[in-house]
């Protein structure tokens, strides 16, 4: 029965693979590349630890504990958010509720869905990491069997906890408010995680001295883990099986399995008892009375008054939706973290020792800074510009049946995306160029190049967004992780690389001229024309493709 309930998802996945083999193959290749890279990184680090003698097993265990602790935190948040959607907000629940399906079975089916949707990312990192452990320590078949068992059982624990937490929250607060609060929580967690990883200075792992530092960090990292935590039990199963040190893997495996089973049964029992009450509460929204206009609407109406009618209305509508949808604005937290890291990277570059090597490094960093700044802005565009078309969603008919030319709609969306992004990119590159001490003519060249380059990035975002729309979700974060978003990122990367390549030689020449104090203005103009011309061409092609895709778009 439970298999029958999850079957629609499996059949849908099969159909996606059958109907889009190119897409499936591309995703498969990307996953394989990620797995290989993760496997290589872990093998490199573990191999180093393995050769440290008696200290090695200790560090190996610390790294595994850190890994499982990170997984546990991510899974707990991710499962709580996913459970809210799959148990209490998903439309598929309605026919299941109407069907002669017991709430317990409904729980089991939704549990499988929650666990799968929340855990795939952890499997993406976890499986190659554990494989690396096995390879480095030349573990036997028992380790690999135990690793699969441990990971599978381990995933159940945060999933069950997530379901219990979500059910409690839904009983206490309206579901949509809960979702917003959780989305903000996810945004903060992701931002903290990204900052945390950066502050570990992973680049130091590239040389042995850095590895010593990392080993030092691990050695100082907490205790071996609380005996009450499933992360500790997972580690205690795997480390002895690696042959790193003796232990009681069977006992800890029993702890893991029994806890997972107990929590799963507890979540099933709770959901079975309160599901209908929680579901009913989740369906009700907050009543605000008959006040027609909210303060935000009035402010925005005044703000867009100087603009032409249609772009003004679209801007007011988009900003209203953006500010009211936590899945959209909580993404800003991640952007802030990204910018913080970017600026920190530049301030931490060791370029001030006055040697010729430092000078060459500074010139290289200068040339690359245009590309890096544009790429960071592209990462922001993936979150905010690419989803624009998808976020119109199934309400696209409202715009499409209105007497507004498609080109007009395109321009409105373009300006909404372009203006904040070009300002963002200019500020980012100007600030980092200042940190690098780049001469003014080169900074001017970059700032001028960014004007058409960012226009092309936004234009590409609208083109890919229209060609690969996702109307099945209103979650901007989910839209930004789809197949089309990956292609968009790759296209932007290609364009940015081309522009940087076209400007590299002129920039090197300008740097030399700036040092000798005689900048030739025509060189500056030629450089802008080369890079800007390529960007302008990309802008025009992408715009044409976007208009065609929009005309074909069926919501």
């Amino acid at each position: 029965m439970v298999i029958a309930l999850v079957q629609p998802r499996l059949l849908a996945l099969r159909n996606v693979v059958r109907r889009g083999p190119f897409r499936a193959a591309t995703v498969g290749l990307l996953v394989a590349a990620f797995w290989t890279a993760t496997f290589a990184l872990f093998t490199y680090v573990l191999d180093y630890f393995h050769h440290l003698g008696d200290f090695g097993p200790f560090l190996t265990q610390r790294l595994l504990t850190l890994l499982f602790l990170t997984f546990f935190g991510v899974l707990l948040v991710s499962n709580t958010v996913t459970a809210l959607t799959s148990y209490y907000l998903a439309e598929e629940v309605v026919p299941l509720l109407a069907a002669p399906v017991s709430h317990r079975r409904l729980h089991h089916a939704r549990f499988v869905e929650t666990l799968t949707a929340s855990s795939w990312m952890v499997l993406l990192v976890g499986l190659p990491a554990l494989l690396a452990y096995g390879v480095v320590y030349r573990a036997g078949a028992l380790f690999y069997a135990a690793a699969v068992g441990v990971l599978g059982t381990f995933l159940v624990i945060p999933a069950a906890l997530g379901v219990l937490v979500t059910t409690g929250l839904v009983l206490l607060f309206p579901a949509r408010r809960t979702r917003e609060a959780l989305l903000i929580g996810v945004g903060l967690t992701m931002a903290a995680l990204v900052l945390g990883v950066r502050l570990l200075r992973p680049e130091q792992l590239a040389h042995p001295a850095g590895l010593v530092g990392f080993a030092g960090f691990l050695a100082g990292f907490g205790a071996t883990g609380s005996p009450w935590l499933p992360t500790t039990w997972a580690v205690e199963v795997l480390i002895p099986l690696l042959g790193a040190r003796p232990g009681e893997p069977l006992f800890y495996l029993a702890m893991l399995v029994s806890t997972a089973a107990m929590l799963f049964l507890a979540s099933a029992a709770v959901v079975e008892r309160v599901f209908l009450t929680a579901w009913s509460r989740a369906q009700s929204g907050r009543v605000r009375g008959d006040a027609r206009e909210r303060p935000l609407t009035g402010w925005l109406a005044r703000l867009v008054r100087p603009l032409p009618r249609v772009p003004g209305s679209l801007l007011a509508k988009d900003v209203t939706v953006f500010l009211r949808d936590a899945s959209q604005w909580s993404q800003l937290l991640l952007v802030f973290a990204l910018v913080g890291i970017y600026l920190y990277n530049f301030s931490a570059l060791p370029l001030d020792d006055g040697t010729p090597l430092a000078q060459a490094m500074r010139d290289l960093a200068t040339i690359l800074n245009l590309g890096l700044g544009a790429f960071v802005t592209t990462a922001v565009a993936v979150r905010f510009v690419f989803p624009m078309v998808s976020l119109e969603g199934r309400a696209w008919w409202i715009l499409r049946t209105a007497p507004v030319p498609l080109a007009g709609l395109w321009w409105s969306k373009f300006w909404i995306g372009y203006l904040p992004l070009v300002v963002f990119a200019e500020l980012l590159v100007a600030t980092t160029n200042t940190l690098l001490g780049v001469p003014a003519p080169v900074t001017l060249l970059f700032l001028l190049t960014l004007v058409p380059l960012m226009a092309a990035v936004v234009s590409l975002g609208l083109a890919f967004g229209a060609a690969y729309p996702r109307f099945d979700t209103q979650n901007a974060a989910q839209i930004a992780t789809g197949f089309g978003a990956i292609l968009y990122m790759l296209a932007c990367l290609g364009l940015i690389a081309l522009v940087v390549a076209l400007e590299a030689w002129p920039v090197a020449r300008l740097l030399r001229q700036a040092r000798s104090g005689a900048v030739v203005a025509s060189d500056l103009a030629e450089a802008v024309a080369a890079g800007g011309g390529a960007a302008a061409l990309a802008f025009a092609v992408a715009r044409r493709r976007a208009l065609r895709a929009l005309a074909r778009l069926e919501a």
Partner: protein, 251 residues
């Protein structure tokens, strides 16, 4: 007011709409009937500019929807079969936004939105996000959005779905009033009783082809010729026509 000529839509080898031609006079209600998957919604989506026809033309108020889409759309109101709205806008904000797309000024848009919200019994929930409204309320709000710019052509795809009996009665009265005021209404529905009550002329589409076109009396006469009963209801006529062997379309 509405003229459709040799309209055709194909998806690969599948012919969704095949050589469809019809005309609707100003101030009349045209009932568009057919089984599920007959091609009703595809026809409507081509009429409203949501879908590009493979061949043929649609003219609304003298404006070709492909050659002069803005002019044709400016005088048309449309209610889709599943009217999805912007979840994060309130009903009031939605109507004002739609009004602005159709050229209503801020003051006029605000007045019109308030008037329609009251007219459709939505004044009480005007400040609620549309995601919190019931299906019937959303349907009424979408209908209000279709009327916000006082259209001369109204294209409705299953407008009665989700409405309570009171709402359905009010809608029938409203449609009759709009037609009396000169609005041309193209009404696709599965409710034969509604079509029978409101329509001046009726078209029946089957597997993409128009198989019957005319007044209810003309369709009854045709059904009689094919062996149907005298004075039969539209339901009986509908079934007779769809189950009859292929024949000429009476106009």
């Amino acid at each position: 007011m509405i003229r459709i000529e040799h309209l055709r839509k194909t998806y690969g080898t599948l012919v969704a709409v095949d050589d469809l031609s019809l005309e609707v006079e100003p101030g009349t209600v045209f009932g568009f009937l057919g089984r599920n998957g007959a091609g009703k919604t595809t026809t409507i989506r081509m009429m409203t500019g949501l879908l590009e026809p493979t061949a043929g033309t649609v003219t609304l108020g003298g404006h070709d929807i492909r050659r002069a889409p803005e002019a044709a759309k400016a005088l048309t109101g449309y209610l889709p079969d599943h009217p999805f709205l912007y979840d994060k806008l309130t009903g009031f904000e939605l109507l004002r936004f739609v009004g602005s797309l159709y050229g209503l000024g801020a003051a006029d848009g605000t007045r019109r939105a308030a008037q329609l919200l009251e007219q459709f019994g939505l004044g009480r929930v005007a400040g609620e996000l549309t995601e919190t409204l019931s299906h019937g309320m959303r349907q009424r709000l979408a209908l209000a959005a279709a009327l916000v710019h006082r259209p001369r052509v109204l294209i409705l795809d299953e407008p009665m779905v989700g409405l309570d009996p009171e709402g359905a009665l009010e809608l029938r009265l409203l449609l009759r009033q709009l037609a009396a005021d000169g609005v041309t209404i193209f009404l696709s529905t599965h409710s034969l009783a509604v079509a029978e009550e409101l329509s001046h002329r009726i078209g029946i589409i089957d597997r993409g082809r128009l198989v019957a076109l005319g007044t209810l009396e003309a369709l009854r006469a045709r059904a009689r010729r094919d062996g149907g009963a005298d004075g039969a209801s539209l339901e009986a006529v509908f079934l007779d026509i769809l189950n009859a062997p292929d024949g000429d379309v009476p106009t």
